[in-house]
Amino acid sequence: MIQTNYRPGHKLIQRSVVKAGFLALGRGIESASHFEKSVQEEIKNWQEGFSFTMNVLPFGPKLAMRKKNGVLKMISLKKGETADLTVEIKNLTTAFRMITTQMGAHHVFAQNKIGVSGNIADSMRFIRIVYTVEAYLFPKILNKNILKKSPKMDIKKRFNRWHIYTRGMLFGN
């Protein structure tokens, strides 16, 4: 067979799962930035207006957030606008594995499937925030795959989790 100009297809399911996952993660981060101490500690180091984005190459999905009034808000970046911290996942399948808890952020880094533009300390903060929120979003049995160490879920954390699942997912606070 000789075929020219073959156009590759699309991974529609992976794309929609990642899209939904990014939305949940974004809402979770928004919500956690209102009440979760460790997340607030991390954000303290960022100036008001600091922005970060996590993109899947080459054309998304994208999650962009900005610090506004001391908490994190999901935003969409304007065309040509670059965030203070850009984290790029090199392909859709990797993002899919991350979002479906088959791989932790540290594994994705270890496999060199993520690229960072910006300050290293900021990207470490970003990863810690993602860890914290993932610990809320997923039950412990799934967390084992994606966190180096699962946090203990005390009463307060259980309440926080419930908060994220209800108000957080709907309103982001």
């Binding site: 270890a110 060199n112 910006g118 470490m124």
Partner: protein
């Protein structure tokens, strides 16, 4: 156990051994280059190493466009900019880095400016930002430790904003690394010891951290074997050419291993000690290595145990029960440190290296924000780092 997926890359040609320097004119010619710049520092000139390198160009058709020996101890943005300007003005067409980490990083920075045809290197900060064909680049290490001649990273200090800018790209890798025993023969014992322990740390962390893979394992274990056999020898007798050459090989192999596998918590905390208290990188590695290994022990014990075979010998390895090997491995490193301390006063406690108790807090916070924390398989909290510092103090 093999990783599910990994990446490994080392395109650097290695010319190693007797008269290795003499191969440079041919290598440059192969890359269509005829006017190299040599980037080095005053220490190298004063030690007579520059002269040895220049002699290697005798009877070649090349002209050395510029010899620059004013690289500061920490590669800086202003120096990189200045050299790039000289490079353009004098129509150089290739780069030779001669020295330890700083001239290497500086040369990589110059390569970015020239190849990307820019005046602002900051635009290329981060991972995989370089897209252009690079200038022919030859690296001649004069210490056996950093492994910069085979690593894809450069760190350049921005004095104005007081930040260290990291650049990582396979394009930063030199085309050729020259390991010539003449380049390390005069290295003072203390630097030999500290840089040697840095190389050992690169190999151990490459072998035990999250990105480990069969390719980097091969380099890491071979490096550990050479360090085990030669480091004490070469600190005792710096003129031992064979041992010097072995250490140069160990350092380069460890560099290939960690350039692909990354380093872990020893480096994260060590970088922080450097940033906060200006502790020499190699010294920090030597001091912290055993204590961080003790911390990692419950997760990495079996891997440390495997490494005992390479650091000691088959007889020792087999006479020790399997579950005691990791402990013996750490103990062996502590003994090495002690001997190095006796031989050349290399500090083996953080206090002796100049860290103050008041600085612990800052070291711990800085360490947690270091990229090397990520590949460390065991999670470290601030409290963990503080405890490690306490024990190593």
């Amino acid at each position: 156990m093999l990783p599910k997926y990994y990446e490994f890359q080392n395109p650097v040609k290695i010319n190693a051994g007797q008269d290795a320097l003499e191969t440079i004119p041919y290598e440059l010619k192969q890359m269509n280059a005829s006017r190299p710049i040599i980037i080095t520092d005053k220490g190298i000139t004063n030690a007579g190493l520059l002269k040895t390198v220049l002699n290697a160009f005798d009877d070649s058709e090349l002209t050395i466009g510029i010899i620059f020996d004013e690289t500061p101890p920490d590669s800086s943005l202003s120096t990189v900019n200045r050299i790039a300007e000289l490079y353009r003005k004098n129509k150089c067409d290739s780069i030779i880095a001669l020295g330890g980490g700083s001239p290497m990083d500086t040369a990589k920075g110059v390569n970015i400016l020239i190849s990307e045809n820019t005046d602002d290197i900051r635009k290329f900060m981060g991972a995989d930002r370089l897209k252009s064909k690079m200038q022919p680049f030859i690296a001649i290490p004069t210490t056996s430790g950093t492994g910069s001649e085979v690593t894809l990273v450069a760190v350049i200090y921005d004095e104005a904003n007081q930040v260290k800018m990291p650049f990582t790209s396979a394009r930063l890798l030199p085309d050729v690394a020259i390991l010539d025993p003449r380049m390390t023969i005069g290295l003072p014992p203390r630097i030999t010891a500290a840089t040697g322990m840095d190389a050992l740390t690169h190999a151990i962390e490459a072998y035990t951290c999250l990105q480990k893979n069969p390719m980097s394992d091969a380099y890491a274990t071979a490096a550990i074997k050479l360090v085990g056999e030669n480091l004490l020898k070469v600190v005792k007798d710096g003129s031992n050419k064979e041992a010097r050459f072995a250490m140069a090989n160990a350092s380069t192999m460890a560099g290939i291993a960690f350039s692909n596998s990354m380093v872990g918590a020893v480096h994260a905390i060590g970088h922080a000690c450097g940033a906060v208290a200006h502790i020499h990188h190699g010294n920090a590695m030597a001091i912290l290595l055993p204590y961080v290994m003790e911390f990692n022990m419950d997760m990495l014990g079996n891997l440390y145990g495997e490494l005992l075979l390479f650091l000691t010998d088959a007889d020792t390895y087999t006479t020790i029960e399997a579950d005691k090997r990791a402990g013996k491995f750490i103990e062996t490193i502590k003994e090495m440190n002690k001997k190095l301390n006796e031989l050349c006063k290399m500090p083996i406690k953080l206090y002796d290296a100049g860290l103050k108790k008041e600085q612990f807090e800052q070291v711990a916070t800085t360490a947690l924000n270091d990229g090397a924390m990520l590949p460390n398989p065991k999670e470290l909290s601030k409290k963990d780092v503080l405890e490690i510092l306490e024990r190593a103090f």
